[in-house]
């Protein structure tokens, strides 16, 4: 029922082809490129922070060029440390973890996996990318305004974020830009998720019933359903924040607040309201980041194990359960915010419940791996790495979910360790897995497997070296968001910090291998065959890279479940979804 698919002919000219392209594949690559830029900027910022934490008195030559006030002579001021931290978190959460696994891969592969020629609304699709791009530029503009980026963190907690420059640098223009950028980002996400949902429901090829969709498609679909309503709450939150800042209202600022000896001209608002609105979006957002990675990893693991997961339906059900529960738990970020302690109790219960579908998923992955002959490729290694990171990071969630334990752990490095493992590294590993798996399709060139495996081991070991000690630091009472720990009760922890910083610098440097591999193979890699991994889903039936209309004008017809591997009696050990080959397949739940 799409009116829009196939309404654009083959693109003509450079601008239509590569810039304002309507082709979902180009748009997917654009999102990927944007995320790649954002991730390297974000990583660079984290290097600066780690460096400053352990060598607070060592100047970083050239940094004064970035900000004369924030880094005079290359020395980062405590305030500028917070600016870097804010930009790091915002870039990573919004422009990397939301964009790469969801918007980039989703745009590229969702239509192909369901046998469609394009998204349901190519023009919307183009708009959503360019809107995201504007949001990105507006955010980065905070680096060049005189007072620099805001210092209120990626969560922009009020009242710090809602009052003006009295509270510190970056809280003037920088914070305005932040609010506007994220509001624009919300609109872009809305456009994107509308499109994803309509495409999935309406553009499936004949025979592609909902249950025959690959798990990656399911994950993108569930994610877009979450994003549809989650960003709808962040948008008003950002609008009200900007109003507080420019129109003098006080939604988020209480009466009688004195900052820098100035009585703030505000009254009647509540910082808790900001936290409620922000985390109402914020917790669904963490699942927006991780669900696509779960789908990608399932898709890849099945291919490498050459057998389906123990249950297709339970995986889908668990993803839906996660989506559903993700709206009920946001208060677990607010146990110590002054929220009603009774609410804390109420929130901790669904928080513990949400570990059930997560555990079910993990058990299905592990149970399916058990006894399978896994082919070790860079992609499958990263998929395994994803599970490892997800479990390691998820376990700490159990602790944080109890209000009484969280009193001790909140706002320490324990939380930093938790969410970097479970969200940051896990989702990025999902993206790496997807990249090694799908890049041949996207560029028509194979990536170098050896370099990929080296990249995996360095990243895997490196990520644990960085983020595991964070838990220890948190248990030892090391608070987060401080710019230095010298001459303090935390001074004895400095060796751990040094270790982490060195690990971070090395692991970051190891990503250059990936970058090299990506660029080198893009141009000089061996040409990719149509189906290099002997996979079954529809993206492997089209040329690498696919032509502008994906299936060359024919409509694929689907005859099989997505993961027909190791089928007895089949010609090969797998059956493509669109292969008319008839075999008796055992019915799987």
């Amino acid at each position: 029922m799409s009116e829009a698919a196939a309404h654009h002919g083959p693109p003509q000219g450079f601008i239509r082809k590569y810039v304002f392209s309507l082709d979902h594949k180009i748009i997917g690559l654009q999102y990927y490129g944007l995320a790649l830029v954002a991730v390297f900027v974000g990583m660079f910022l984290s290097w600066l922070m780690r460096f400053h934490l352990v060598w607070p008195n060592a100047a970083i030559p050239g940094l004064q060029l970035l900000s004369k006030v924030g880094a005079p002579g290359g020395l980062i001021t405590p305030e500028y440390y917070l600016s870097l931290l804010t930009m790091h978190g915002t870039l990573m959460v919004f422009f990397v973890l939301t964009n790469a696994p969801f918007a980039a891969f989703g745009n590229y592969f969702l239509p192909i996996q369901i046998g469609a020629e394009d998204m349901a609304f190519p023009r919307f699709n183009m708009m959503s990318f360019w809107t995201t791009f504007v949001a990105f530029v507006v955010l980065l503009a905070a680096f060049v305004v005189p007072d620099g980026p805001p210092i209120s963190g990626w969560t922009a907690y009020a009242p710090l974020s809602a009052i003006g420059k009295d509270a510190g640098p970056g809280l003037d223009m920088g914070q305005n830009l932040w609010g506007i950028s994220i509001a624009i980002f919300c609109i872009a996400s809305l456009l994107g998720s509308l499109n994803f949902i309509a495409t999935t429901l309406d553009l499936r090829a004949k025979g592609m019933t909902l249950m025959r969709m690959p798990l990656s498609t399911w994950a993108w679909f569930v994610t877009s359903c979450i994003a549809l309503l989650a960003f709808a709450v962040l948008l008003p939150a950002c609008l009200l924040l900007v109003l507080d800042r420019v129109a003098g209202t006080s939604f988020f600022v209480p009466a009688g607040l004195v900052v820098s000896d100035h009585l703030q001209p505000h009254s009647g608002g509540s910082p808790l309201l900001w936290q409620h609105l922000f985390w109402f979006f914020g917790h669904p957002e963490v699942y927006i980041a991780i669900l696509p990675a779960m789908g990608i990893v399932s898709h890849i693991l099945i291919n490498s194990m050459r057998k389906p997961l123990l249950s297709h339906k339970v995986v889908i059900g668990s993803m839906m359960a996660i989506g559903f529960l993700s709206y009920m738990v946001w208060g677990h970020h607010m146990f110590l915010s002054g929220m009603n302690p009774f609410s804390a109790l109420v929130f901790s219960f669904p928080t513990l419940m949400i570990t059930i579908p997560a555990t079910v998923l993990t058990l299905i992955w592990l149970g399916s791996l058990y006894g399978s002959r896994l082919q070790i490729t860079a992609a499958s290694l990263f998929a395994l790495g994803f599970i490892s990171m997800f479990v390691s990071g998820g376990v700490s969630g159990f602790f944080l979910a109890q209000p009484s334990i969280d009193i001790y752990l909140h706002a320490t490095y324990f939380v930093v360790g938790h969410f970097h493992l479970v969200m940051g590294v896990a989702a990025i590993f999902g993206v790496f897995a997807g990249t090694y798996f799908w890049m041949p399709k996207m560029t028509g060139r194979m990536m170098n497997e050896t370099l990929g495996k080296i990249h995996f081991w360095l990243s895997f070991v490196g990520a644990y070296c960085i983020f595991m000690p964070f838990h220890y630091l948190g248990l030892a009472g090391n608070v987060r968001r401080y710019s230095s720990f010298v001459d303090d009760f935390m001074a004895p922890l400095m060796p751990v910090h040094k270790f982490i910083t060195i690990a971070a610098l090395c692991t970051g440097a190891a990503q250059l291998i990936f970058l090299y591999n990506l660029i080198h193979s893009r141009f000089w890699g061996p040409p990719a065959p149509v189906n290099p991994w002997n996979a079954t889903s529809l993206e492997w039936t089209v040329p690498s890279p696919p032509p502008w209309n994906n299936f060359g004008g024919v409509h694929p017809v689907v005859y099989h479940d997505p993961y027909q591997y190791s089928v007895e009696g089949a010609k090969e050990d797998f059956i493509m979804q669109n292969s008319p080959e008839q075999v008796k397949t055992t019915v799987r739940s």
Binding site: E3, L229, S270, Y327, M328, S343, V346
Partner: protein, 103 residues
């Protein structure tokens, strides 16, 4: 799909008689709401219930959700209501900090 509409959305769409009844009902509820509020004071819960009543009639018969496949309503309505319902968790904080009471 450029020139026709789907049969079940519009073909089956209720006759104009239903539409007029709905129109009058919605206006009547609005008048009742206002008169009640003026005479007995606005009771938030009642006002809200009446608004929800108006809205559901409008969704079902003005927007013809009742005439679509039932699965559309099942996909849209419970999800939206669930999300809005969850927001009620914020109320307890809105009153207690006034006097800094624990709850």
């Amino acid at each position: 799909m450029n020139t026709t509409t789907t049969p079940n959305a519009s073909g089956k769409s209720n006759g104009m008689a239903t539409t007029y009844v709905v129109y009058v009902t919605i206006l009547a509820i609005a008048v009742y709401q206002v008169c009640f509020a003026m005479m007995a004071g606005p009771q938030p819960m009642l006002m809200l219930a009446l608004a929800i009543l108006q809205a559901s009639i409008a969704v079902m018969y003005f927007m013809h959700l009742a005439a679509e496949r039932q699965v559309l309503a099942l996909a849209l309505i419970p999800y939206t209501i669930f999300v809005l319902f969850m927001m009620n968790m914020i109320w307890s904080d809105s009153v207690r900090l006034l006097h800094m009471r624990p709850h």
